[in-house]
């Protein structure tokens, strides 16, 4: 379960931040001798505010909104959140695997090369990408149309949607 769900072991400060963000105050910790396994006792503490608690079963949206809030999530927890960098690594690995398997783009380049091209020439590509995808040819940079303000992440996910 731990692997499948993206779990983690925690230090005491991490567990304390987590518990306090959910309204529990740690009062006692006992570790079994010779083991790192511990039992931590907590009692109800001050409730984190508003949105999260107002909902019986907080939805993903509610929780995400809470993440965006300033005071609710202690920095120790915020720091553990997913970052764009982690997402990029996952995407890159997927593409590398596809490249190693010999999957080629329409112009004969490896998928990886196409991804790199999109990464570095994203604005140009946005401007000249047709329904068939990249042409692979060199062209003079053109002003981007609709490509501005879009993050790298969006570009990568778009890549997958297009079935690249």
């Amino acid at each position: 379960m731990q692997v499948t769900l993206g779990g983690q072991e925690r230090t005491l400060p991490e567990l304390r931040s987590l518990a306090e963000s959910a309204g529990w105050r740690l009062i006692r910790v006992a570790r079994a001798e010779g083991s790192l396994f511990a039992h931590v006792v907590a009692e109800p503490g001050p409730l984190p505010s508003r949105s999260v608690l107002g909902t019986p079963f907080p939805s993903a949206a509610t929780l995400t909104a809470a993440e965006d809030g300033e005071e609710e999530i202690p920095p120790a927890i915020r720091e553990r959140g997913a970052t764009p960098a982690m997402d990029m690594m996952g995407a890159a690995r997927t593409l590398l695997r596809a490249g190693a398997g010999g999957k080629k783009g329409s112009s004969g380049e490896s998928v990886w090369a196409r991804w790199m091209q999109r990464k570095f020439y994203a604005d140009e590509n946005d401007a000249r990408r047709g329904p068939t995808g990249l042409t692979g040819e060199k062209s003079t940079p053109t002003p981007s149309q609709g490509g501005q303000g879009r993050g790298l992440l969006k570009k990568v996910s778009q890549y997958f949607v297009e079935g690249g």
Partner: protein, 112 residues
């Protein structure tokens, strides 16, 4: 939601929190917090007992802790110079467990 007629003494979460990333673990804890009885002068509150591995740091810190228990838990028993505060490889299993699971990108978990 908390029901005054039901007063649970303890909620026990044993090796549950470590299965979940923080936002989802928080969701579990919040649900229990809502169902908990906050206690009064003559009534004990509902306690929460979390059973999990607690990873000690390899070094003790000079910073004063906000929470007394953190000082007590900082170094493992018998771990004094020249031994590491976490006794190094002698307690490596829990760290391995963390490293084994931490390769998993959190972004693939819905709702994170």
């Amino acid at each position: 939601m908390h029901d005054d007629n039901i007063n649970p003494a303890v909620f026990l979460l044993r090796v549950v929190c470590h299965d979940w990333p923080d936002p989802l673990a928080r969701r579990i804890l919040l649900q229990l917090r809502r169902a908990a009885n906050e206690g009064t002068t003559d009534k004990k509150p509902t306690y929460l007992v979390i059973g999990d591995h607690l990873l000690p740091y390899a070094c003790t810190s000079a910073k004063a802790s906000e929470l007394k228990v953190e000082e007590d838990m900082e170094a493992l028993r018998g771990a004094r110079w020249p031994l590491l505060a976490n006794l190094g490889a002698a307690s490596a299993n829990a760290y391995w467990m963390d490293m084994t699971v931490s390769h998993f990108p959190l972004t693939t978990v819905p709702c994170v």
